[in-house]
Amino acid sequence: MNTNSNIYTVIYTTIIVVVVAALLSFVSQSLKGKQEANEKADTISQMMTAAGFGTKPEFQKIGNAAVLERYAEEIESAYTVDIEGNKVSDLPLDKVYSPSELKKQNYNIKGAGDAELPVFEFKNGITVVPIYGAGLWGPVWGYIAFNKPEGGVISIKGAYFDHESETAGLGARIKDDPAFQGEFAGEMPEFGSSNVFDIVKGGSPKNDDGSELLDNKIDAITGATMTSQGLEAAIDTWLGAYSKHFQAGMAIVTILESLEDQASVETEETKKEEE
């Protein structure tokens, strides 16, 4: 047979491509469930790492089933809020957001639709929210955990970031470098301002005694300016969208605390009167 005729070539390539495509889609469909289970456990371990329940290698060691079990023990509630800070709906306790779902909400925050942003609350009072944005080569996303509001302010407990294809050794350090993620602990984003959080060269300007002058700035990664800027934009966008939610939370705590103060003052006064 003449294998160089045009008709043969066209038919041959068509058959090859169709066969390969069919095989690949079959394999992709049959492995989908397992892959999603892995991705879910990975996402949960990222959230738990941000919230300080352990480190990523520790969660990897104990395996998927143990990670899911631990999460079920610790999670208190999960719900979505809109940009105005109003609760939209409750989420099932085992629901997590995949990067593609975060991407959709990222468009919504920027005005494509009504954003429904997930909030995860743990039993020890820690709240975890996701962020999502564009790095240098592909998307970056992650989770930021907040301590229980105290004295009208909310501080960050921890953070964990992930990426699709940032440069290994440079931009990839947002995921691989615990020291970078560690910088987030104790910072206080300025909710409601146009500049919620900064990732800049040198971090916060220092006081004379070496303490940080501003609590919403951390040091960026050398050699990864674009990734750092992308991450900063992602944090600004998402924490900006959560601002009303967190401000409402802080306001409630402030009112409660002042009520408690008042109550204690009143009891002292009544005590004095009794005396």
Binding site: T3, N4, Y8, T9, Y12, T13, I16, V17, V20, L23, L24, V27, S28, L31, K34, Q35, N38, A41, D42, Q60, G63, N64, E164, S165, A168, G169
Partner: protein, 204 residues
């Protein structure tokens, strides 16, 4: 096993090693050799891809229209790479490694060893020798990967396969070893050693 098959299988491991002699597949050998685990998974993936795509294309070799043979090769190799990636993603044990290797699994398709061996060997030989040639070249690549990763993980992180080795004796991790340039230095040393053993590789 006859002598010719044995030669096909053993030659790429040392005498005709794809990395140190043909200097193919350098890029990924710099990128994935930070840890032994990553290097091992990468080596196995490349062995599977080179072996099976060589086998498939050798079976098809008399039917492939010569004008589109590179495209047909690409389709088959791409299929194998995607299959390997999908399988690695679906097992709990390999999911984290697949994530760590990220784009480099997908980039096996651009590894010159795969297409090079198909074009140079599989299209002109019977299925069994082609399969062995693919596997052997993958293994030769993997061997160098593992040697480089051994030194990089030991000196860079003080561990082997994640277990503390040098760390126990208060070894401070060397950051240079973790960075890709050090892999190039190590590769250079390996090529040096091989050339001083194998005199016929030296240029006059």
């Amino acid at each position: 096993m006859n002598a010719k098959l044995k030669e096909t299988l053993l030659n790429p491991i040392f005498k005709g090693n794809p990395i140190t002699v043909l200097v193919l597949g350098i890029c990924s050998s710099l990128a994935v050799t930070v840890t032994l685990k990553g290097a091992l998974v990468m080596a196995l993936s490349v062995i599977v891809v080179t072996g099976i795509s060589s086998l498939i294309l050798s079976l098809l070799r008399n039917t492939i229209p010569s004008r589109v043979r590179i495209i047909v090769q690409l389709v088959v190799v791409a299929m194998m790479v995607i299959l390997v990636d999908q399988v690695l993603k679906s097992f709990e044990a390999t999911y984290a490694i697949d994530k760590q290797l990220s784009v480099y699994i997908g980039l096996i398709i651009t590894n010159c060893i795969v297409m090079g061996r198909i074009e140079a060997f599989a299209l002109g030989n019977k299925p069994l020798p082609s399969f062995l040639d693919g596997v052997a070249n993958g293994a030769g690549y993997g061997l160098i990967l593992i040697i480089v990763a051994f030194f990089r993980e030991l000196l860079g992180s003080g561990t082997l396969f994640g277990f503390d080795i040098l760390n126990r004796f208060g070894y401070v991790s060397n950051n240079l070893v973790i960075l890709p340039p050090f892999a190039l230095i190590l590769l250079g040393c390996i090529i040096w050693v091989q050339r001083s053993i194998q005199k016929d590789l030296q240029e006059k």
